[in-house]
Subunit: 219 residues, 2 copies
């Protein structure tokens, strides 16, 4: 062993803090590059640590690190739709979308790789994480709609819109983040209201919701 | 070699016909079961041939057979949206959706496995096939809309709707094919018109299209 200069920053971190630091370094790399273009050496370098140290915390190597980063990103995405139940519904949805689109903007390549699939480290587990985010987002939105027992047509409409938002986000990234994010957000909110209005013609529960949504004294 | 009774049906098929027969047997199995629940023995049995014969035609085994079946299904799906350019637009779209939903109905488990991912034989190639179907469907729809150079907002709207249709199809299968397929079809057509109408407020090209779409003397 060669004598190494003491690196205080290296030594003073607790296990939890070190793990969080490595995860953050990994997440920022996976955010802007496809998973196959990120190596463990890159993660070690970004975190300013040695490759063996990365392996000590993530013995499963890149796959484990990717999944951990993914779970951390999924947690962040789930929180986007966790909006306080205060004030009119449409602005609440707009605020949730603002956070969601800021996440998309800040994790562009990672978001695309994750949702378009086809990455070399893709597994059924990563698919399950993505599905879970969709499910939680749908549940958050349904609680905001404040309908006691949302029926199949309303649920289907919400899930269709979530998928459409994902598609729009991918296309938005693909087109150099055009149109501007505020315009995209308003457009997506309007799409939601329009989709609910169509469903309202076929479903009394959604019709009551839509009347509430569109009334000026909303909530 | 043990003497076998002559099996004329077995012998008289040409290479092409035999390949098509094996593919059809595979497709009907993959249509109603997850890929991991279909074995080469199942395919051989369904086609009334031996397992070695299946291997002779598909030396890559199940993965090759699955991809070939998938390509054949993708071809069928692409054709759904290849509707003659005659008569009003909305009924054309309804006819295309009828074919699409009939495909979904007839390939339920296979459709779900394919789009939900996470199957053991999933690869970036199968993802690419699915993306290609989406792309071709969007192109078919855009040619029907008869807009010389469709701009980004119109294109994004069409692609958002296609994704929403996929989501609705998956949920429809998941919910025991409810609502009835004709109702689902009409609802999806209405969603398309509503989504275009929202985009129309932000895009002159889509506004002109929507006026044409909604005029009684459409086309």
């Amino acid at each position: 062993m060669s004598p190494a200069a003491p690196t205080p920053a290296y030594r003073r971190l607790s296990v939890e803090a070190r793990r969080a630091q490595l995860l953050e370094a990994a997440l920022s790399l996976f955010a802007h590059r496809a998973p196959e273009d990120v190596s463990l050496d890159d993660v070690a370098e970004a975190a300013g640590v040695s490759r063996p140290l990365v392996y000590r915390y993530f013995p499963g190597g890149k796959q484990q690190l990717y999944e951990a980063a993914l779970r951390s990103a999924a947690e962040e995405l789930r929180n986007c739709f966790d909006e306080p139940h205060d004030g009119p519904l449409v602005p609440r949805l707009a605020r949730a979308l603002d956070r969601y689109l800021a996440f998309v903007d800040g994790h562009d390549a990672g978001f695309t790789a994750l949702l378009q699939g086809g990455s070399v480290v893709e597994t059924s587990r990563t698919d399950a994480i993505v599905d879970d985010v969709r499910r939680v987002a749908a549940e958050h939105i349904l609680t905001h709609l404040d309908v006691p027992a949302p029926g199949p047509r309303l649920r289907m409409t919400v899930r269709m819109w979530i998928t459409a938002v994902e598609a729009a986000s991918l296309i938005w990234l693909d087109e150099g983040k055009q149109p501007p994010v505020e315009e995209l957000r308003d457009w997506l909110v309007e799409q939601f209201v329009a989709m609910l209005s169509v469903t309202a013609a076929r479903d009394e529960q959604t019709a009551a919701l839509t009347r509430r949504l569109l009334s000026p004294a909303d909530d």
